[in-house]
Symmetry: C2
Subunit: 211 residues, 2 copies
């Protein structure tokens, strides 16, 4: 286990490496060079070697990396053998899509509870997941010991909901709202801002034609 803080960028690439190595193993490949890996995951091979060196995973010159070894190693790093239950708060358009999506690519994340104000869906099971009314949110999060939440509520209630979930012990938030929520320093927020991603893409194409 790595107990020092690795760069966030390296951590983000871990699950990308993991997913690709699994594809390789499934297709019967035993080893991979950093050049092949680089081509597949679109990360330059110097970066890959540096990332791997954080974990002491070193390839052999002229041989490359052993796929099974690497996979086992990353699997442990990513805790792929343990299921993490997360909650979805806000089952609107985007929330509903996230329920259906439900991280099927990953074996170790699952939305196990959802919350919404819409009485047409509260008290029902949507895509296998119970949808509770917002009044039950704090109680259910505590009861189910859920520490990670996907926030997909309207922006105008995002901070209020954030304060409530932090109060009952949530430590990680995947934030789909456009609001940059305020949290205590021991809570981690990962923002997924689709409008921002699109505007950044357009900005670069407009100004630099990607040259």
């Amino acid at each position: 286990m790595v107990e020092f803080q690795i760069p966030q960028a390296t951590a983000k690439r871990l699950s990308i490496y993991y997913r690709y190595l699994q594809l390789l193993l499934d297709s019967g490949k035993d080893r991979v060079s950093s050049t092949e890996l680089s081509e597949a995951v679109k990360v330059d091979s110097a970066t890959i070697r540096r990332d791997f060196s954080y974990f002491g995973a070193l390839g052999k010159r002229g041989y490359g990396y052993d796929v099974r070894n690497l996979l086992e190693f990353f699997s442990k790093q990513l805790n792929q053998d343990r299921l993490t239950n997360v909650a979805l708060i806000g089952v609107g358009n985007l929330g509903h899509a996230l329920l259906k999506f439900n991280f099927h690519q990953s074996n170790h994340v699952r939305i196990s509870a959802a919350f919404d104000v819409n009485q047409d869906i509260t008290g029902t099971i949507q895509n296998g997941i119970p949808v509770y009314p917002m009044e039950d949110m704090k109680e259910q999060l505590k009861l189910q010991q859920i520490e990670i939440v996907i926030l997909a509520v309207p922006a105008n209630v995002a901070q209020k909901v954030t304060d409530e979930i932090v109060e009952v012990g949530v430590r990680g938030i995947l934030n789909f709202t456009p609001l940059r929520v305020t949290v205590p320093t021991d809570v981690r927020v990962q923002n997924v801002d689709l409008t921002n991603e699109m505007e950044t893409l357009i900005y670069f194409l407009d100004h630099f034609g990607n040259k």
Copy 2:
């Protein structure tokens, strides 16, 4: 107009600044300090000052920034006065949510065409947007001069579809598939990988408890 290449991280923050400044103006605020801005958008104020300096937008000591000036400036940078039409390829669960979402927060991006293989929805209008069959994709992209595409197809056809859209002049791809697609150097890809975002969040909480 800025004609040199600014850092990607700065570019990504542009539309976040823009959105917040618009909120400020709507609420009747004329000026803002970098500290206030920092608190609201969760970017440290040194970074904000550095970002702004790329554009020659400098606040006055003890006064801060003029909201209207900044807004006008960023609006031009982001081409907020011009509508960019983009296409959505793949109207499955996620695609459908994106159609409904349709970047309503932004005045200058709109999905104007969608494509899918599902005959139940091709030839219909979904959320105001025509859904064409995949056979018509290349022709329609050319006809409508669409240069930016949201890719939400299954991973196993992602590369094939990418090759086709690049062939008809697409220069920017917002990639929601888990595949890292291969494109010519003059095409820009922005990956939005939800599983990866979630796994990164879990990884940090598992290993470092966000300390």
